[in-house]
């Protein structure tokens, strides 16, 4: 449905949501309401930030990882999603090991907690189509409609804006404005291009707004071309997440590993 606008530019990794969302028979997690996935991911973050031990987070992570199988992602897509997560977890584990006060255990706890919060968050993102997300936010979470539609429309301009970025670079090269190996000049060229892109963006936005005005955008009550449905499975997803968090905390408490977030490590 939204295939053309999702076409990635060559420099971008292919948005993994595309195939998962567009497949005829969609994976379970891709069919879930984006609002439910957003709530579940936020719930995990709220539930795990107050604890720093690896056990509580580890239980949640162990339960979240199999969900990747329900995401419809395969092979290379899964690697493209998972690899940055592992790199980030390793980096965070490392800075906690190097600068932290709690050595290996603290570093492990930080890395596991990072993954336990990030995995549901990333799964929610890659399995949600932007259009369905906007529909769900407006119809289920009562987000104001005009700004939601405007952001959705603007996100559709990502390929256009990245193409303009390349055009700006080509134009500068044609004029002999190249940085070469000088990082300061590279920064100057980068900022110049960024400013030119912002000018283009404001003008594009002005034109887009005019086009939307001619179609009477936002002048009266709107109907919904697509209904965002909340199914029983969505309730189960949110309730299950809450139950999982409670169970993780209880198990960790029972095992004596539970450790709350303390100020200064």
């Amino acid at each position: 449905m939204s295939a053309p606008a999702r076409t990635p530019h060559p420099a971008a990794p292919r948005p993994p949501a595309g195939p998962a969302a567009a497949a005829g028979r969609r994976a379970w997690l891709a069919r879930a309401n984006p609002a439910a996935k957003l709530l579940a991911a936020a719930l995990v973050a709220a539930g795990l930030v107050p604890v720093v031990d690896p056990v509580t987070s580890g239980i949640v992570l162990a339960a979240a990882l199999p969900l990747a199988a329900c995401s419809g992602l395969r092979g290379a897509q899964l690697a493209a999603v998972g690899l940055p997560l592992l790199v980030m977890a390793a980096a965070i584990g490392l800075v906690n090991l190097l600068f932290g006060q709690e050595g290996w255990a603290g570093a492990l706890g930080a890395a596991v907690r990072l993954l336990a919060i990030a995995v549901p968050s990333v799964l929610a993102a890659v399995t949600s189509d932007p259009t369905e997300t906007a529909d769900a936010l407006v119809q289920r979470l009562r987000v104001p409609e005009r700004p939601a539609v405007a952001v959705l429309a603007a996100l559709r301009l990502i390929p256009l804006l990245t193409a303009q970025w390349r055009t700006l670079g080509a134009a500068r090269r044609a004029r002999g404005l190249e940085a070469g190996a000088n990082p300061l000049r590279a920064l100057g060229v980068f900022l110049g291009k960024a400013f030119a892109l912002l000018v283009r963006a404001v003008r594009t936005g002005t034109t887009l707004a005019m086009a939307m005005d001619t179609r009477a955008f936002g002048t009266g009550p709107r109907g919904h071309a697509r209904r965002s449905r909340w199914r029983a499975a969505d309730t189960w997803l949110v309730a299950g997440t809450a139950a999982l968090l409670c169970a993780a905390h209880l198990v960790s408490l029972a095992a004596g590993t539970w450790q709350p977030l303390g100020i200064g490590g």
Binding site: A12, L38, A41, Q101, G106, V122, P147, R203, G264
Partner: protein, 200 residues
């Protein structure tokens, strides 16, 4: 929409109305900044894995992420626009993929909301450098606290405070002063004609 008088000088009591352009331009602007972020992220990821070893360096450039909300607010000068622009910029990072997922959109929303509070405290009437700096610094409070409890949990308090302070200062400078200068430059480039910020 019937807007005979462009709202260049909104009287304080005028009912709050959002023209389409008031909503769409900040959304597109936010996405454009988000695209630049994304290239910026790639640049840093490719050139400096050093950040993992020396996080204060990352705190120094953190202010860049606080820029869109303040920029949107300064340009459109209406309530809610800082939240909108900041959220739109963060949404790009989610849509293009990365290790953050929906969490980053929530972060962008909260950062925009904190900047919005400063604009609200200024009653949406003051748009100078002090307001911009305060708005960006307020937005910077979110990562100053959140990143410490989310990522740098085992650090000693002194490190955490140092990180937070550097983030807020960076936000004030890059996000606040930067957004103010950018708004003036965009106005000089003639891009802001539909908005009150076209004239100082």
């Amino acid at each position: 929409m019937q807007e005979h008088e462009p709202q260049t000088h909104p009287s304080p009591r005028a009912p709050l109305r959002y023209r389409t352009v008031d909503i769409v331009v900040p959304a597109v602007l936010g996405v454009a900044v988000g695209v630049v972020f994304w290239l910026w992220n790639m640049l840093w990821t490719v050139t400096t894995p050093v950040f993992a070893f020396f996080p204060p360096a990352q705190a120094l450039i953190y202010g860049m992420w606080l820029l869109p909300g303040v920029l949107g607010g300064l340009i459109v000068r209406k309530p809610g626009i800082a939240v909108l622009t900041s959220t739109a910029a963060a949404a790009v990072s989610m849509v293009l993929g990365g290790p953050w997922g929906v969490e980053i959109v929530l972060a962008g929303f909260v950062q925009g909301l904190l900047s919005e509070l400063v604009f609200a405290a200024a009653r949406y009437r003051r748009w100078g450098t002090p307001t911009a700096v305060l708005a960006a610094a307020a937005g910077g409070l979110a990562p100053a606290i959140w990143d410490n409890v989310r990522y740098y949990v085992t650090w000693p308090l002194s490190h955490q405070i140092a990180f937070g302070v550097i983030v807020v200062i960076s936000a004030a400078l890059i996000g606040g002063v930067g957004a103010r200068l950018l708004t003036s430059a965009l106005a000089r480039a003639g891009a802001l004609a539909p908005f009150p910020s076209a004239r100082r």
